[in-house]
């Protein structure tokens, strides 16, 4: 199929394998001389390991622990604070202490029950609130502060008509990728091959080089077909890779480690619970004079990627608004709970839920329709960002709003719902909006300083072109979209471009598959490489083209002062959500969802629709449906039905539209799209619930329990 318009959908590269069920995921793989690994995990939240007593192990069964790690005992991510196998202190329930390996899982599970570890238990910190209360030097894992000086803000507040303070809480979110985490280390005398479900091949490779203290050619990372990631397979797989690789080295066999759903839900990373505090000075008409935002993220037991998550949360703390005199600071605090990590949106969903809620509440004070109030503050092309960067490119949000207002008949519905709600005592309808953006690519100078992406195109003698990059298709469709870009550039049929599952032996480091960077950054490099290949094309000759990332310098990012252009480009979105709330049960029924987006240029319409529908389902659920709690350091929901992600009966028809606004540094103008689509869901659903019930909430998820408490229990209604 030759591509006239890049956006026209094509069958996905992996369509047949997935639909037929033939594509083998990691848990389907069996190799020679393979044993299984199972992990002994800490049963306590915080304490010192005194002794470890192993049962007598039958022949072929072995124990692997910290003493078997050739290199330093930490998972290389950013800081050296996450042990591969905890051997001195344990910091959360579920922290791995040792692995047992052997052929039979049944025997391994019973041996696991006989492992005896003695601990000296210490007082743990279980919640973000406790951590905030005790905020000591040791519990702050990261912090940043920026914006207008507090003296100036204090002076403005002195002259203000009113100061509004709000506290807002967001909960955990679990990725619920369809395929739980799994990793296999294939043992060979001169090489360990680690394969599994993953987003970031070179993160894993670097972690393995450190843990195994080995040479570059002694370890190799291969991606298996990956059944969903959502960020959950950004950082966590590095730890599992260390476990299986260390074990394979120790027992000289191939080692497979696969989680079932409950283990995955109990011990893998989640979205950071957050507390956001707003302090806003208003004039008599309700106009904003100044705003201070404090953000606290629950990092869990170690920092992992939390500092970077906090950066994105802070950079998005003013939403899509130009707020006069803005100040923000943020902290990641340590608690003795499961470490929190990357999750689609990466700190931004917390911030957008918070700021959209706050601005919505301010609009009520000003007695202006929330959307009208928000539009007064909307950033425009040329405006500065809150970090003194600049919104360089055209911003289409006004057009997007106008369009969705018409399509949804927003004004008419608002009136209709008010009338209907007066007639119906039990069911109340509401409509809410959200405005949001997503900074595409790594925060700050990450692409230039840390990632330095390289891509390669290889043409064989028979003129077959293959993509050699380290990015993972985890369901988001890059096997298809990136091949389309190369095919179009080379004017070849899309089916003729190959993109085998990446293997670090074959592919250069084109960076991790995160941050909505793949299409924009890697896609652009591939577009350039393809252009070059086309110019140099020699039929019947092997050719290789390599392209390196080139940074377009704007206002340089300075992490210390938290100033400069945090992102090269932004994608934008507007959501409108209609709900019906059952005031007797607090249950929320989604009735209709609208989304308008601007992502530069769509590379494949159907794949974009997949991102929109899936991102919205996940984002809406974050606002009202999915609920995860931790009690005394233990995650309470260990099954999908207890956690409650949306089923097909919970998602309604989503009417969406994507606006063209090509971006010069993206392939065919494309920017990032994957994370954007999640961000607007929760704030829009909150606004709709508030509209239905004519009340305010200070948290997500707004579960039926929260609604019933706010509607009835506070009034002491009983009998």
């Amino acid at each position: 199929m030759n591509l006239k318009n890049i956006s026209t959908s094509v069958p996905k590269k992996d369509h047949k394998g997935k639909v037929s069920g033939q594509l083998p995921y990691i848990s389907d793989v069996k190799v020679e001389n393979m044993v299984y690994g199972v992990l002994y995990r800490s049963p306590i939240a915080y304490g010192k390991i005194i002794s470890i007593q192993l049962p007598t192990l039958p022949e072929g069964y072995e124990a692997v622990g910290a003493e078997h790690i050739p290199g330093p005992n930490y998972v290389k991510i950013i800081k050296e604070d996450q042990p591969i196998f905890a051997n001195e202190w344990v910091n959360y329930i579920g922290e791995p202490i040792l692995m047992l390996t052997g052929k039979d899982l049944d025997i391994l599970y019973s041996l696991l029950n006989e492992v005896k570890v003695e601990f000296e238990e210490h007082q743990a910190i279980y919640t973000l609130d406790e951590a905030i209360k005790q905020k000591s030097v040791s519990s702050v894992l990261a912090n940043y502060e920026f914006g207008e000086s507090l003296e100036n803000i204090s002076a403005i507040e002195q002259g203000a008509h009113q100061i509004i303070e709000e506290e807002y809480d967001t909960g955990y979110q679990e990725h619920v990728y369809l395929e739980p985490q799994g990793m296999l280390a294939v043992y060979k005398d001169d090489e360990i091959i680690v394969q599994g479900s993953m987003q970031c091949l070179y993160y894993i490779k670097n972690a393995l080089l450190s843990a195994l203290a080995c040479g570059d050619d002694e370890v190799r990372v291969v991606q298996s077909p990956t059944g969903g990631g959502f960020g959950g397979k950004e950082d966590y797989p590095s730890m599992m890779a260390c476990h299986v690789a260390v074990a394979a080295r120790a027992v000289k066999k191939s080692v497979m480690l696969v989680f079932d759903r409950s283990e995955d839900m109990l011990v893998t990373t989640k979205r950071h619970p957050a507390k956001l505090k707003y302090r806003t000075a208003l004039d008599k008409e309700g106009n904003i004079l100044s705003m201070c935002v404090d953000i606290f993220l629950d990092g869990g037991a170690n920092v992992g990627l939390s500092s970077v998550v906090l950066q994105r949360a802070l950079i998005n703390s003013a939403g899509v608004y130009k707020i006069p005199h803005f100040h923000a600071k943020g902290y990641v605090l340590k608690t003795n709970t499961v470490p929190n990590g990357a999750f689609r949106g990466f700190g931004a969903p917390q911030s957008f839920a918070g700021i959209e809620s706050h601005i919505g509440h301010l609009s009520k004070l000003a007695k202006i329709d929330p959307l009208e109030y928000k539009r007064k503050y909307l950033v425009k092309q040329g405006d500065p960002t809150i970090t003194k960067g600049k919104f360089r490119d055209p911003i289409l949000v006004e057009e997007m709003i106008e369009d969705v207002l018409n399509v949804s008949e927003y004004k008419k519905k608002k009136e209709d719902f008010q009338r209907l709600n007066q007639q119906n005592q039990r069911y109340k309808k509401g409509i809410g909006t959200s405005l949001f953006l997503h900074g595409c690519g790594f925060t700050g100078s990450g692409e230039r300083d840390h990632i330095k992406a390289t891509v390669k195109l290889v043409k064989s003698k028979d003129d077959q072109v293959s993509l050699k990059i380290s990015n993972s298709d985890m369901g988001q469709g890059i096997l298809t979209t990136l091949c389309k870009i190369v095919a179009k550039e080379l004017d070849l049929p899309f089916e003729d471009i190959l993109y085998p599952y990446p293997d670090t032996k074959e592919v250069p480091d084109s960076g991790p598959t995160v941050a909505s960077r793949t299409t924009m950054i890697v896609g652009k490099l591939l577009e350039r490489a393809a252009k070059k290949l086309k110019n140099q094309w020699q039929t019947g000759v092997e050719q290789e083209i390599v392209e390196h990332y080139v940074h377009r310098e704007m206002i340089p990012w300075d992490e210390k002062t938290f100033t400069g252009d945090a992102y090269p480009a932004y994608s934008w979105g507007v959501n409108i959500v209609e709900v019906e709330v059952d005031t007797l049960t607090g249950n929320i029924k989604l009735e209709k969802v609208y989304g308008n987006y601007e992502v530069g240029k769509v590379i494949d319409e159907r794949i974009m629709k997949g991102q929109i529908d899936g991102g919205l389902a996940q984002g809406l659920a974050y606002g009202y449906l999915e609920k995860m709690t931790s009690k005394q350091g233990r995650i309470q929901q260990k099954s999908i039905s207890d956690y409650g992600p949306p089923t097909s009966l919970d998602v309604v028809s989503i009417e969406s539209k994507v606006f063209d606004n090509p971006y010069a540094d993206g392939p065919y103008g494309a920017k990032g799209a994957g994370e954007l689509t999640l961000i607007g869901g929760a704030p829009a659903v909150q606004a709709a619930i508030e509209d239905a019930l004519q009340t305010s909430f200070q948290q997500i998820p707004i579960t039926p329990e929260v609604i019933i408490e706010s509607l009835w229990m506070k009034e002491g209604e009983e009998g």
Binding site: Y109, E263, T585, D642, D650, M713
Partner: protein, 288 residues
């Protein structure tokens, strides 16, 4: 390691009953509860400690028929089969539609839902309201027991190991009654009830002839009180506020839910009472 499992699958009910008389077995109808109950960790098959007897294929257990005014439902009718059957009352079908998802409904059976005796069993509140009786059969003969006597507590039922529940009998099927069922779950499919409510009311000449209600997932077994129901018999519709309040506070005293990973005790109780009051406050009731 290969484990041997003994499993029986007889062609006829009497053979099955003979085997059950010889040996204590785990009975599997649809398996949707038994398999979950005995689930092992990943990669290891479920461990069922007794020999297994499959009964879901037995035609004796799959009949649905009307006898006099009673509706007899074979214990091994799957939910999907009941949804298709014209004899099954509309209210019961509504409850069935809230159960899990089609794949589970193709396997799960009404008898299984009863014998699993979960406090959150989706069919139970309505069966209590229908005054369902269960026919149990063994080599020694038949016996009949009411559902409220049969279910003793979570996963505890009054069944001897040589017996099978063969039929669920709904006496006189509440023909002239208005019957409701409401399930409150955390989502619209594949969810376990946080609270559920079933109610029925029969009215003649604006007076209540018969009224029943039952609550699920708010205690170790379904909560129903015939004594409280009696207080309303003979009252005129619409009920006045004081009567509704009195019934509400009577149930307030006997509903004792718990906090767990799915909801809170406070929520369960509040919502259970809301649904009760809503049912009692209706201006008119239509037989359905």
């Amino acid at each position: 390691m290969v484990e041997k499992i003994t499993a029986y699958r007889f062609e006829r009910l009497d053979e099955t009953l003979s085997q059950l008389n010889r040996e204590d077995c785990a009975i599997i109808a649809g398996g949707t509860d038994v398999m979950v109950l005995h689930k092992s960790r990943r990669g290891v098959p479920p461990k069922i400690p007794k020999p297994i007897v499959f009964i879901n294929h037995l035609s004796e257990l799959k009949q649905v028929y009307q006898h006099h005014k009673d509706l007899h439902i074979g214990a091994c009718c799957t939910y999907s089969e009941l949804l298709e059957n014209p004899l099954i009352p509309f209210a019961l079908k509504n409850a069935i539609k809230t159960i899990a998802a089609p794949a589970i409904r193709n396997r799960g059976t009404l008898g299984g839902n009863i014998c699993n005796a979960s406090p959150a069993g989706d069919m139970l509140p309505l069966l209590y309201v229908y005054n369902a009786k269960l026919l149990l059969r063994s080599v020694n003969g038949n016996r009949m027991v009411t559902i409220s006597d049969f279910i003793q507590g979570p996963r505890r039922v009054q069944r001897f190991h040589n017996e099978i529940v063969t039929e669920i009998i709904l006496p006189s099927v509440l023909e002239d009654s208005h019957v409701v069922f409401e399930k409150v779950g955390n989502r619209n499919a594949d969810s376990i009830a946080k609270v559920s409510f079933a109610g029925s009311i029969r009215i003649s000449k604006d007076r209540i002839d018969d009224i029943r209600f039952a609550f699920g997932a708010v205690g170790p077994t379904i909560v129903r009180s015939v004594d409280i129901e009696k207080k309303l018999v003979g009252k005129t519709i619409p009920l006045d506020g004081a009567d509704i309040a009195a019934i509400g506070s009577a149930f307030d005293k006997i509903i004792r839910p718990i906090d767990d990973q799915r909801s809170t005790a406070a929520y369960r109780k509040t919502v259970a009472l809301h649904l009760l009051r809503y049912f009692l406050s209706m201006k008119q009731y239509q037989p359905n």
